[in-house]
Symmetry: C2
Subunit: 325 residues, 2 copies
Amino acid sequence: MRLATRNNGRRDGQLVVVSADGERCVAVDGVPTMQAALDDWDNVKPLLQAISERLASGPAVGHRLDPASLLAPLPRAYQWVDASGYLSHMERVRRARGAEMPPSARTEPVIYQGLSDRNLAWCDDIPADPSWGADIEGELAVITGEVGPRPTPEEALSQIRLVVLVNDLSLRSLIPVELAKGFGFFHSKPASAFGPFAVTPDELGSGWRDGRAFGRLRIEVNDEVRGDLMTGVDQDFSFTDIICYAARTRRLSSGSIVGAGTVSNRDESRGVACIVEQRTLQTLAGLDERELAPYLQPGDTVTLAFQTEDGRDVLGRIHQKAVLP
Amino acid sequence: MRLATRNNGRRDGQLVVVSADGERCVAVDGVPTMQAALDDWDNVKPLLQAISERLASGPAVGHRLDPASLLAPLPRAYQWVDASGYLSHMERVRRARGAEMPPSARTEPVIYQGLSDRNLAWCDDIPADPSWGADIEGELAVITGEVGPRPTPEEALSQIRLVVLVNDLSLRSLIPVELAKGFGFFHSKPASAFGPFAVTPDELGSGWRDGRAFGRLRIEVNDEVRGDLMTGVDQDFSFTDIICYAARTRRLSSGSIVGAGTVSNRDESRGVACIVEQRTLQTLAGLDERELAPYLQPGDTVTLAFQTEDGRDVLGRIHQKAVLP
């Protein structure tokens, strides 16, 4: 099942069910927003499924879907939690800024509380002051139902409602000063952008297994391919692991977005999902500081696109332009 | 104007306008929740004011307000940002755990992105495993309208909609391990509790000045007074300062809760708004580790109460019991 949020002039937009080809959609009577669906999932899911089946019954069903009208699936969310699912990313980034890996990095994920009061749409501009070192991070995330404290892995898995594509933006030049203060990211992690479609895990077919979303993530900067990565592969912590870890001392409310961190494969030939990793690999290859791939400058464009294992585009692509803030 | 959120079985509860004596309330036609009011403040404020005046016109207006029915003013919020408004708190806490003050601590606030997907009511239990070192933090916070990026101090001040009382809970024993990982608080900052009433700044009378809320904050643990603090006094960063700093690289959406950090006076005779400061002062006074005030254990109770400069209780008190999680 494929869901999206259409811009209707309201802050939370309008929930729509989308056809398999992404061309048509239908709104849901009595369920105005994505958050409302997540808050009452058990009752709402059958309605959504019935609409989804109706959309599949023939090309005349539903309204034409204008991609430009789509907001982030949750235009604002009550929680965004991001974790170090792919240790290869964390190792490279920390190497780049001369920081150590935490001693427990292999046994439990590192996690942070991110901004979620405003989530960018797939096509929204990226505010990128030239001095900020703005960088992309290609990620997959899940949106949860209510997760009780200290869930079992089965309970955590059963509360994964939807899968989304994320461009978790980072302002690299602001990170060292901020982390040195000891309270984590704030300015250095601005609003993230989300792919237009949120899908139930079954849409990934056989690629949804072991609490991971297997597929391919393609990353382009100014139409130059920077990465063609295998998601799920080299993923040290599954979504289940991350949810269980996050919920050790708390509940996670319905509509919590939980990210598995920047996708990163140990096979360097697959490229990267963020510029900082590219710069690290370039440095290790002997390049000079001035030869490294630059961070985003106003005018640059980025494209993130996910494909399922059998080659389908179900999450929609993210295509953004960097602009002066 | 005094607002509250009544439990009506829905996640966001029901917005009510409350009489000056806190005894009566009236719901608002067409404005179901506190977030809905904040999202459309300019249009909604006159409606709220009219109801407030009606409530003031006579004791027969409105329904009896049952304090036990009140939730946090925002039972879930899109953003909770907390900052080091009172440096005296940060100095004592960092001294307690042997950490340095950041070099910029005096020129800009330290800030973190906290959990807001579930805000505790004034009377909700505090999950406190005996090994967590659960601690209270008595704070004042403001709830904002839409704050654009890089606001002027005047713009920031004009977007302060409401003032609330907060018990920003901390799990002290989890903080050192978590901060050592470099990504800030996560488990160590669980859900905060909020006083029952959210008031427009004018309710503080002359105590609302310089972007600060002046008054007195009384803190009790097991009916023993731990602090009788002067809020606004020794507040190194005002709410205006904190909002301007937070919005340097981003917008803050309507309904963002912005805290000024644990209230702390340099005059030690006023006591403390958290147990860790008490322990620091006890240690400096030569007490032995075993003699220090213990962190919250199941069965302990805490009370936080604010008074305006002219002795009125407008925010309502927080009264919670620590329980096994």
